[in-house]
Amino acid sequence: MLRIMAQPLSSTEDLRNALQNAIRLEHSTIPPYLTALATLSGNTPAVRYARKVIRDIVSEEMLHMTLACNVLNAIGGHPDINGKGFIPSYPHELPMGVAGDLVVHLKRYSKALVENTFMRIEEPEIPLNIPTKRTTLALEVAAPITIGQFYAGIRAKLVDHPELFTGDPRLQVTGFFSGPGENIAVTDVPSALLAIQTIVEQGEGTPKAPTDLQNEIAHYYSFQQLAKGMEIVHDPASPLKFSFDPGKPLFIDDSNDVIQMVDDPPLVVYDPADWRAEQLSTECDASYSRILNALHQGFNGQPDKVNDAVGSMFEFKTILGELLQQKLTAGPNAGKFAGPRYLYVG
């Protein structure tokens, strides 16, 4: 389980800092997920299923980032999306992460990446064991400081201090996600608690069900499908109402369905012979920076700029797609493909 360092929550400023860290945390999952998604180049039903699983999760991480910004704005804070340290320097621990606990890399899709990194990021305090044909399960022991506890601390603080909700309602960003009741404005304690519940449950599910507030499979279990290699289906016979279905296998061929991207592109120096790989990496960095800059404006008084961020995301996809088609011709990584660095360039 991912453990994070406890955040001070004594003062209002502490609370705002904690929410800023929440924004950083929610964002920090997007580059590794997006990278894995973009390397899934195959066109089999299993690949298409996996792509949808990851794409939906990335979309919800964007929602979580939005909701965390809304909560911070609601209590008079100012989300900082485009500071130099906002994007982790991958490979790195996630924001607030305990050093050495879980180092997140930028890697091509693999079952191991999903199991050892993505599921750990999303892991609930007590993961439910969705049965495969009604087997029993062993519960993991809760760590002292978890993401769930981190958000629980923020919840408690907000409940105790309704007077903090003095933020300008015009700063709220809504309407960018289509799920019912998801992308809400945060103006008071109940709406803040709903936002946090959405963030936590979409990632982890509830202690009793692998689903979230919107009755969708939570990220942890959704990723678990890819790790187990089979889809989750509704199953009235299951105590959790869901089962992994061996009849719906998900087999992804690591060599044919996945672009053989170099590990951790930020650490790779391309040979001058691979000029285009370096150049497209730079354009990819600039494109991602444009997204963050637009979001920063969007969350700081110009909500319409979120549209420009979305427009830039589509452009990012085309640049990333071309970057991942750059087969390196020289150096120790010859034969592998270039990948994104997510370096902020202003």
Partner: protein, 607 residues
């Protein structure tokens, strides 16, 4: 004064024009005959989708920086220690998608236009010094003689426009920028050349950009210099037009040969043509006005081809008088040559005219008014009598003409209104909406034919078809429109997956416009992009060639959803666009071999 101002900065770097080349070939617009190989790169024996089928239309500034800062006192700084503006980065927008480079139409690829560009000067610390939005502008004076290379690699053209919505940072550290801020009235003038474009290999889609930024003053033309204009006398000349401006107060003359001269590809500087000199008048009676010092390494990058003459002194009374009253000539005399040869000269009567804007996209019934601006030896020509005439690029028998009218006379500023009113183009080309027209213009008082003097100098108009939309549009009604874009722009909008490069992994489009489910699932984003102003970089379609009627149809279909909450999938088929996709027999579907063929396709002169 425009960028030809003592206070100006020059910049240089690279650009990327990631244009799709599938749409370079009119044959590829025909949904009926479209073939999947049109989305593949060219290979020996098959042009396929030409040399960059996966292009997205993006246009980016790459590694651009200020190379020289020129100040009011005539000094030029070329090092940061001399002026803090030198060395600062010239960057594109930081908070929205990249700009786009867009042809007007496959039949008129000679006025490609940049939309959605923001230009930022940013120092080493990331601090903004100044930024502005580039008013969309097409290139001008496209020529293919820049070097001994072939195709677009030998091409050169310039873009001139204004930067608006100017936002200044702290520029006190730079004398040049401080003076520019003081001189400008809310906008900046910008001109840049693009050349050394690469069409293959690692650097495919990248080229060189070198340019100038100066103050824009109210009342000036936005897309050309109100000054003196010189052109080669024969179309086979390896040179291109030259722009000059006489600065009477400072007794100097600016000469801009940035787009005019050939390059030495080994050095990246102008090829050695010997002594380049400017004179007023011709023959023995000519008055020399100075020599252009284009020597020294990186001269072009540091000057952008702009020189102030005479060097080291000011014009005498006699020189000033000659420069005011007589046509200017730019000559070159090679070492050892007996006599100079003329590179470019002003018209004998000094008359020059331009229309701005000079590229239009109009729906039937729509009307737009442009400024026809006439000068004589750089001064406004008051009382000139303008005229204009439109001609289609093809199929004259079946292409209705737009109405073009002008004011009877130019005013004291040399300006007359020129108004274009579009009618229904009546779909002469079948599978490409509307028709493209050239509109030539002139004034009765001068024998000078603007497009004879400079082949780029005419108006281009894309006039769309009228469309009777179905009352309740279905997928079948809109599909042919979406399908054409899916064909022409495969990386962002084509098949999923798209694997154009053998042995390399495929990519996934942003949205497959040929697929109902993909389009329906993306409806809100398409609505947003279709509703953006044409100047916005995310405006859809990238190519800005969708008529207002078709845009309205797509929006109605996207918004007027069925009982399932999704855009309507099927039903009656009633669609003029779908019905009229058959090419007329007399509209050639033969690909134009290069853009060069297109710029020769200029309309006849009139006036």
């Amino acid at each position: 004064m425009s960028y030809l101002n003592p206070v100006r900065l020059h910049f240089a770097g690279r650009f990327r024009a990631d244009v799709s080349t599938v749409n370079n070939d009119i044959q590829h617009f025909d949904n009926q005959t479209f073939s999947a190989n049109f989305q593949l790169p060219q290979r020996p024996g098959s042009p396929n989708g030409w040399w960059q089928p996966a292009g997205t239309g993006a246009w980016r500034l790459i590694d651009c920086a200020v190379t020289a800062a020129c100040r009011r006192d005539g000094t030029t700084a070329v090092a940061p220690a001399e002026d803090a503006a030198v060395g600062v980065a010239v960057r594109e927008s930081g908070d929205r998608a990249s700009a786009k480079l867009v042809d007007l139409d496959p039949d008129q690829q000679g006025v490609s236009m940049i939309f959605g560009l923001t230009v930022r000067l940013v120092d080493d610390n990331g601090q903004l010094l100044v930024k502005g939005d580039f008013e969309p502008a097409p290139f001008f004076d496209l020529q293919f003689n820049r070097s001994e290379e072939s195709g677009d690699s030998a091409a050169c053209a310039y873009f001139q426009s204004v930067l608006t919505n100017i936002e200044w940072g702290n520029v006190t550290a730079s004398t040049c920028l401080t003076q520019m801020q003081q001189a400008c009235a809310g906008a900046l003038s910008i001109k840049f050349m693009t050349d050394i474009y690469t069409m293959g290999g690692q650097q495919r889609g990248y080229g060189r950009i070198v340019g100038t930024i100066g103050p824009y003053l109210d009342g000036e033309p936005r897309s050309f210099v109100m000054g003196r204009h010189l052109a080669p006398s024969v179309s086979s000349s390896p040179y291109a037009p030259v722009d000059c401006r006489l600065d009477r107060e400072r007794r100097k003359i600016f000469v801009d040969v940035g787009n005019a001269l050939q390059m030495n590809m080994a050095t990246g500087d102008f090829a050695d043509v010997g002594t380049l000199a400017l004179a007023a008048g011709t023959g023995a009676a000519a008055t020399p006005l100075g020599i252009l010092d284009y020597s020294g390494p990186k001269n072009y990058l540091k000057t952008a081809g702009v020189y102030e003459l005479p060097a080291g002194r000011t014009l005498t009374d006699a020189e000033l008088l000659a420069a005011t009253q007589q046509p200017l000539q730019l000559t070159a005399q090679a070492t050892g040559a007996a006599a100079p040869t003329t590179i470019a000269s002003e018209s004998d009567d000094g008359v020059y005219m331009r229309v701005e804007p000079f590229v239009f996209r109009l729906d039937p019934g729509a009307s737009e008014t442009a400024d026809l601006i006439v000068s004589r030896f750089g001064e406004p020509f008051d009382g000139a009598t303008p005229g204009a005439q439109a001609q289609p690029f093809s199929l004259p028998a079946t292409s209705p003409l737009p109405q073009v009218t002008t004011d009877p006379k130019t005013d004291a500023n040399g300006r007359a209104k020129l108004t274009i009113t579009a009618v229904d183009a009546k779909n002469p080309r079948g599978f490409i909406d509307g028709q493209v027209y050239g509109i030539a213009f002139g004034v009765q008082e001068s024998p000078v034919s603007p497009s004879g003097f400079d082949p780029s100098n005419f108006i281009s108009l894309l006039m769309f078809n009228a469309l009777l939309p179905p009352p309740t549009p279905q997928w079948d009604d809109v599909h042919p429109i979406f399908e054409q874009y899916a064909h022409l722009y495969p990386r962002p909008h084509g098949p999923n997956p798209y694997a154009p490069f053998g042995g390399l992994p495929p990519s996934h489009p942003v949205v497959n416009l040929d697929d109902y489910a993909s389009v329906a699932g993306f409806a809100e984003h398409i609505i947003w992009a279709l509703s953006l102003p044409i100047s916005h970089p995310s405006h859809m379609p990238v190519t800005r060639d969708l008529s207002g009627a078709k845009r309205a149809l797509l929006l109605k279909w996207l918004r007027d959803v069925g009982a399932d909450g999704l855009p309507r999938r099927s039903g009656t088929v009633a669609m003029a666009a779908a019905a009229a996709r058959v090419a007329p027999e007399n509209y050639s579907t033969t690909a134009f071999p290069t853009k060069r063929a297109l710029i020769r396709h200029t309309p006849p002169d009139n006036a």
